[in-house]
């Protein structure tokens, strides 16, 4: 061994010689190892895991989202402790029951159960049954373990009805009677069902009329009253509460209020008469444990005898559920009904955001690429903008709430909406501020994409344009921008996709659990930018985490998730398609 102090320098050439002299055979072992096949497999494994993760995720969400609305049969199960459970089986799982759970069973059964558990290493099967009837049982779901079920008790009751109601969630029961005006009109299941089908559409029509009356007519009255009240308050602020003008206005207001009150009473009477007519029809049902329940027909949104419907009817129910989901307002703390306001809010917000971000993003990119003199300053700005694309979205949310709502919005309130104070108009989160916040967030995306698109336009084309005598603006407008347009649109669409899927900043600035008023309606000025709004992404968060009954809300989360992913995927595919077009066009335009 050579000592460390004496590096083997002199001996190096001989070593080299030796190396050179070594016969270089292409041995099979060297060839095999050079291919590094196992390591290639490892890299491929990384690839495969990534792909598998995405595919699994999309399949999972897709499967859960698609199957949610499909009607399934209703089962009825009797358990050994005398309970009777009726509902839809939602999933199965295996678990290890705690010993006290088994001990609580009757002795003979407990012994049997213990024997079965021992045979299966303590594991048991159970199923989650959606039992509904929340007002009677206090729960929407029940776990039923396999060992609890009395032998052969599991069956499909032919007349089990699944009833989706206006409130309290679903109801599962068998029809006992159909009652009109307090008298039993039918007591055979088939007859009850026929009567139900006969009367339900009319009752629902009246119900819809009632809702329309409440929403439109009474809403109109309230709106007018609020406007007048604000006008009165404005006079108070301007002229003082002691002034003659205020006293006159106050008297006028009172007269108006009186007049509106008469209208109000009139509408109330109409509503009462509709309700009265609807209250005549009641369906009497019996639940699995024998409780009877009178269900007013007006309460029923949709009902079907789950074990009697054929494939065609199932498909009909499935489609009608999807339609309700896409076109209706949510009910029952968002866990049932539709997501129309959320779709509407998402779309409006995204459009407003694009309106703000695209022009300014393009302006900034044009400035950076076409007008600004290249130098360290501009490179620094470019690096900064690149970096901002990576700044967490929540930071923009913090900025939005602190700057837009609390600084700009508060100032706007003082100037324009003083009568409404102290309740804020623009001084809190809302559609406009959310759109502007997201516009700031996506601005770097648009600037970078536009800059790249502008850079991709060959300089020869600009020079050609100048040579023909065009001014700079003419060149930009007629030559550069059209060539860059697909790139700009790709960037804008990607920005929209990012904006549509972003939730964190919206939680701070304007997205709410339930917005009773849409941001666009029939009252002046028609577009209400200050209103808070619902958003699909926030809806997912809210359903999954803020809802009192997240188990019941879970199916809705999947469908909402599916919807959001579809929207974003569509936007992305559009961008990818555009990018492909841009490339083709770009290749074709080079000379």
């Amino acid at each position: 061994m050579t000592s460390l102090k004496d590096p083997p320098r002199p001996s190096a050439p001989p070593a080299r010689e030796h190396e050179l002299k070594r016969p270089r055979r292409s041995s099979a072992s060297a060839a095999l190892m050079a291919r590094g096949e196992p390591m290639v497999w490892l890299t491929g494994g990384g690839m495969a895991v990534c792909v598998a993760m995405i595919v699994a995720l999309l399949l999972f969400v897709g499967y859960q989202g698609v199957r949610t609305f499909w009607p399934v049969p209703v089962v009825r199960i009797d358990t050994i402790d005398g309970r009777s459970v009726m509902g839809e089986v939602t999933r199965h799982s295996s678990y290890q029951p705690e010993s006290y759970f088994v001990d609580a069973l009757p002795d003979a059964v407990a012994a049997q159960v213990n024997a079965r558990l021992e045979a299966s290493d303590g594991w048991a099967q159970r199923q989650l049954v959606r039992t509904g009837n929340f007002e009677l049982t206090g729960e929407h779901f029940t776990w039923v373990s396999d060992f609890e079920i009395t032998a052969d008790s599991e069956r499909l009751p032919p007349w089990a009805l699944v009833i989706e109601r206006q409130s309290w969630g679903r109801f599962y029961g068998e029809p006992l009677a159909f009652v009109i005006d307090g008298e039993v009109a039918a007591d055979q299941p088939q007859a009850v069902w026929d009567l139900f089908e006969q009367h339900h559409p009319a009752v629902r029509d009246r119900w819809a009329q009632r809702v329309a009356l409440e929403k439109d007519r009474i809403g109109h009255i309230n709106h007018q009253l609020e406007q007048r009240r604000l006008a009165l308050r404005a006079i108070e602020l301007k002229q003082g509460i002691d002034s003659q003008a205020w006293k006159d206005a106050a008297a006028e207001f009172e007269a108006f209020e009186q007049q509106q009150h008469e209208h109000f009473v009139e509408i109330r009477e109409q509503i009462a008469s509709l309700n009265e007519e609807n209250d005549r029809y009641v369906m009497r049902l019996v639940t699995a444990d024998g409780t009877e329940k009178n269900l007013p027909l007006a309460e029923v949104v949709r009902a079907y005898p789950a074990n009697r419907v054929g494939f065609g009817e199932k498909l009909g129910i499935y489609v009608s559920r999807w339609w309700e989901f896409l076109s209706d307002d949510p009910r029952e703390a968002n866990s049932e009904g539709g997501v129309l306001p959320a779709i509407f809010g998402t779309v409006t917000m995204t459009l407003l955001m694009s309106l703000a971000v695209v022009p300014f993003g393009v302006l900034a990119a044009l400035y950076l690429r076409e007008y600004a003199k290249a130098g360290p300053m501009i490179s620094a700005v470019r690096i900064a903008i690149n970096n901002l694309a990576g700044v967490p979205s929540i930071v923009f949310g913090v900025f939005g709430v602190g700057f837009f709502a609390y600084v700009v919005g508060a100032r706007i309130d003082q100037l324009l909406f003083a009568p409404k104070l102290p309740s804020p108009t623009f001084g809190t989160g809302g559609l406009l501020w959310a759109s502007l916040t997201l516009a700031l967030l996506t601005l770097p995306v648009v600037i970078i994409a536009t800059e790249e698109a502008l850079a991709a336009v060959p300089n020869s084309m600009r020079e050609g344009s100048y040579a023909c005598g065009a001014s700079k603006w003419q060149t930009i407008r007629r030559i550069v921008l059209p060539r860059a347009m697909p790139g700009i649109m790709t960037g804008s669409i990607l920005a929209m996709a990012r904006g549509a899927g972003e939730v964190a900043p919206l939680m701070l600035i304007g997205a709410v659990k339930l917005a009773p008023e849409l941001p666009i309606d029939g009252y002046f000025p028609y577009v209400h930018l200050e209103r808070s709004f619902m958003h699909l992404g926030f809806h997912i968060y809210d359903l999954g985490f803020q809802s009192q009954n997240s188990a019941a809300a879970k199916p809705m989360v999947y469908t909402t998730t599916l919807l959001l992913i579809l929207i974003i995927a569509t936007l992305n595919l559009l961008a990818i398609w555009l990018r492909g077009r841009l490339r083709r066009r770009f290749v074709g335009s080079q000379f």
Partner: protein
């Protein structure tokens, strides 16, 4: 532009005269476009930069020093009927009262010092002892005949009917005030008239000890009723609970005293100068001027016992000159003759020797001025941990205890001793009274509790055994002190980042190498956009899946999941070794199905993991991983073994590359390919066995040294870093993958061709040529991915449990900066400390990602330059 006819026509390049002028519209449009684009562009860029500036502007007030402004100084000597005992000011700083030793209660205007009212609530028998509470106006007085009275002296406000008011009051401008009906009436900005007056309510005397004059008294308000401690001339310390009961029939109120007494040592009782009852009545402190304080445990009123004796002034030359409670009445503030102000808290160390397990310990030595004038009086804030002190030389200082800083100091013009001092109820003013003057200052200290060190370094909070990093912004109780230590949140952010990077980076890099170097271009054109699309998957979807699907799913199969992390690479590599067994022609023909084969190994790996998981659990973790993690069962070896496997596998790989492979290469010269492939497979299996054996040996050795539980492994919580790391992988993999694949593909084609042409295999080319060339691009991809992980909000908000614990345990949750902002900002009051702290959290996040991204960007630019040079 029309040509000037005087000038000779210029010859142009083409030899023709330019005849057509540019239309003014074109020129105008050109100028307009320039102006609009320049302004719009600069404005937009400015708007983006405004984000940073605005965040800073909100945060800065947190660290701005307090300002003190004199409001009024007036002569007090004229109306000085005797020794001053206590002063107080109302919340609007209009009215004050002063209580004197002779029992006089004087109400006066703050701004002029003019006396409004003077009363003697005790007639001609002034009390011999008194106590004034910090917050709610509770008072207690003791008398020479051994009786005590308690009650309230405070300010009450009511609104007056404008009809009954004299004209001079009605003529007030909003904000102005004047004396009226023994108080001050002020016209508010809402044009109402608010009368602020002193309210005195005293209960009937109750006898504590017949005939012995009360020397010292203190009162604490428990929810059950007042607790009064008294020290009488006979040297007895009484502690009593006062309960009043109203007879429903007669309406007569009977007051009862229940409690006990304690005979102090004669010297203690004779020279006792302060007697104080803790807020819950569970401790009584008797302090002497030499600093000796006797702490009595009075949890049982009937039998007070001495818990400990502490010297509040350990220095020999100094004496205790002032003693007060902090808000909450648990910590003592001591001032001594050398001008030191110290805060003493009862903490509960594990090795306490006292009977109640608590010890009185000095937790803060406040940075008082070094002029060594004795502290004459102390005043506590009624809402925060602020303390004001006055010295014999007329120096008034304002401290914040928890942040251990002096907020402000004012020197009175006449260097008289400060006789009494009070902080206004809203903490916006200090009133100091000397023998000759009354001074009032307005304090502007909106965020006294935050300093740079209180935000980023451990802070000794009241009731804590040692300085700690704590984030706790709200609580149910009133005298709760918000704790704003950002470190736990930064820690949570880093933990989320580390675990998600540990999971995501290897996968993304391997996938990128495979895509760019091994994959058929047609397949690549399909797969790359798919993975890129995953980048735009909304994180709220990932968060929801993490918390409601992955977390409950994993919780039942933790050992299986952990085993999969080992089994998957094992099976994939095994697949590679088996593939080698194929003859070359077959393997080349099958090459295009390789990726599908690899995909096939995944279910095998998962199956192996699910099979091995329970076996390993039974072997290493006594068959119950979660029970093992809580530390109740089993030894530490199992955990070590699991953690050692990656390291041992790496060692085995290096060993194989450095020792085994050269050996095989030299000794198998004339072997057939099939034989060598078989040998290679055998080597692999041998190495795997060696890895496990080595990990086992190491774990046995290490478990003697220490138990991994409590450090990297601990109790399993359903929403934890494992789940977050896995799901965050979905968010960061696409980014890292895309950027690093771009970097790999950007390596000039001639390098690749050259290497392949020289006879290198694709694998050799990838490892020795492509990856080293693209290294900085790969690194920049990691940085950008890290930036995303740092700022990710929804996933951690939903799946991380959001408890600000600081441990690296992969099975526990955490709270990140971003999730914290999302949870707390909607509830924070604008411009409060909490609000600004959340902005600081946002700024920290901003800074973290900005730094990371700038590094990435600089590296990327360098890489680009280098790639061009090649």
């Amino acid at each position: 532009m029309p040509q000037d006819p005087q000038q000779p026509a210029k010859r142009t390049f083409s030899g023709r005269l330019r005849q057509r002028a540019t239309s003014p519209r074109v020129k105008l449009a050109n100028v307009a476009a320039r102006v609009v684009i320049t302004l719009g562009g600069i404005g937009t860029i400015g708007a983006v930069l405004l984000v940073c500036i605005f965040l800073v502007s909100v945060v800065v007030p947190l660290f701005v020093p307090a300002k003190v402004k004199p409001l009024a100084v007036h002569d007090a000597a004229a109306a000085q009927p005797g020794d001053l005992v206590h002063v107080a000011v109302d919340e609007y700083m209009l009215l004050g009262y002063a209580y004197y030793r002779d029992g006089t209660l004087r109400t006066y205007r703050i701004d002029t010092g003019e006396t409004i009212n003077e009363q003697r609530p005790f007639g001609e028998t002034p009390p011999t002892a008194w106590s004034f509470a910090i917050t709610d106006g509770h008072v207690a007085f003791g008398f020479a005949d051994g009786t005590v009275r308690h009650g309230m002296i405070g300010f009450g406000a009511r609104f007056l009917d404008r009809a009954a008011l004299p004209d001079e009051v009605l003529a007030l401008e909003p904000g102005e005030a004047m004396p009226h009906e023994g108080g001050m009436v002020q016209k508010t900005v809402e044009n109402q008239f608010r009368l602020q007056a002193l309210a005195v309510r005293l209960e009937d005397p109750v006898e504590v000890e017949a005939g012995a004059a009360v020397r010292l008294i203190d009162i604490a308000m428990k929810s059950a009723g007042p607790v009064i401690a008294t020290l009488t001339d006979s040297g007895l310390l009484h502690i009593n609970e006062i309960s009043s009961r109203k007879n429903l029939l007669t309406g007569k109120v009977t007051t009862r005293l229940t409690g006990g007494r304690f005979q102090l040592e004669p010297e203690d009782s004779r020279s006792a100068r302060w007697l104080m009852v803790a807020g819950l009545g569970d401790n009584v402190f008797v302090a002497r001027a030499d600093g000796r304080v006797v702490r009595l445990d009075t949890r049982n009123f009937a039998a007070p016992t001495v818990a400990e004796i502490v010297d509040l002034v350990p220095e020999d030359e100094a004496t205790l000159t002032a003693l007060a409670f902090q808000i909450g009445k648990t910590s003592l503030v001591s001032g001594d003759s050398a001008g030191r102000v110290r805060v003493w808290s009862r903490i509960k160390p594990e090795d306490a020797t006292t009977i109640d397990g608590a010890e009185l310990v000095m937790v803060h030595d406040l940075p008082s001025a070094a002029e060594r004038a004795a502290i004459t009086t102390l005043a506590s804030s009624s809402r925060t941990r602020m303390i004001a002190s006055g010295t014999a030389s007329g120096l008034v200082q304002l401290f914040h205890v928890t942040s251990n800083q002096r907020l402000a100091a004012v020197q009175l013009e006449q260097p008289d001793a400060v006789a009494a001092l009070t902080l206004t109820p809203k903490d916006d003013g200090i009133l100091a009274v000397t023998d000759s003057h009354i001074g009032l200052w307005r304090i502007d200290a909106p965020h006294p509790e935050t300093t740079v060190s209180s935000v980023f370094l451990p802070v000794w909070y009241e009731g804590y055994a040692a300085p700690e990093h704590v984030w706790q912004s709200s609580s149910g109780t009133d005298d709760f002190e918000p704790k704003y230590g950002l470190y736990p949140l930064i820690f949570g952010t880093l933990k989320a980042t580390v675990y998600s990077m540990l999971f995501g980076v290897p996968l993304a890099l391997l996938a990128a190498v495979y895509t760019s170097e091994m994959m058929h271009p047609k397949l690549k054109a399909k797969i790359k956009p798919t993975i890129e699309m995953m980048a735009s998957l909304p994180s709220v979807v990932l968060g929801f899946l993490a918390a409601l699907v992955v977390a409950p799913f994993i919780v039942d199969i933790v050992p299986q999941v952990l085993a999969c992390f080992v089994a998957l690479p094992f099976v994939i590599l095994l697949g590679g070794y088996l593939w080698q067994l194929l003859p070359i022609p077959v393997s080349i023909r099958l090459m295009k199905y390789r990726l599908y084969m690899i995909l096939l190994t995944l279910p095998l790996g998962v199956a192996l993991g699910f099979w091995v998981g329970p076996v390993a659990e039974a072997w290493l973790f006594v068959g119950d991983l979660k029970g093992w993690l809580t530390g109740r069962i089993g030894g530490g070896a199992g955990g070590w073994m699991f953690m050692m496997i990656p390291a041992c596998a790496l060692a085995a790989a290096v060993f194989s590359g450095k020792v085994f492979n050269p050996l095989i290469r030299t000794h198998t010269g004339d072997w057939s390919r099939a034989r060598i492939a078989l040998l290679d497979l055998g080597k692999y299996l041998l190495l795997v066995a060696a890895t496990i054996a080595l990990a086992y040996l190491l774990s046995q050795v290490l478990s003697f040294a220490m138990d991994p539980r409590g450090r990297f492994l601990d109790t399993y919580v359903q929403r934890n870093a494992l789940v977050v790391g896995f799901v965050m992988g979905f968010a960061i993999i696409p980014i890292i993958y895309t950027i690093s694949e771009d970097a790999l593909s950007a390596v000039p084609e001639h390098l690749r061709s050259g290497s392949l042409g020289a006879g290198a295999t694709p694998w050799q080319t990838a490892v020795r040529i492509i990856v080293p060339t693209a290294m900085s691009g790969l690194f920049s991809a990691l940085m950008v991915g890290m930036g995303r992980a740092v700022g990710e909000t929804m996933i951690v908000l939903m799946a991380a449990g959001n408890t600000p614990v600081m441990e690296w345990n992969i099975f526990n949750g955490f709270r990140t900066l971003s999730a914290n902002i999302a949870v707390e900002l909607p509830e924070a009051v604008k411009d409060s400390t909490h609000y600004r702290m959340l902005f600081l959290a946002a700024l920290t996040l901003f800074a973290m990602t900005f730094v990371v991204n700038t590094i990435a960007e600089v590296i990327r630019l360098r890489f680009r330059k280098r790639a061009y040079q090649l």
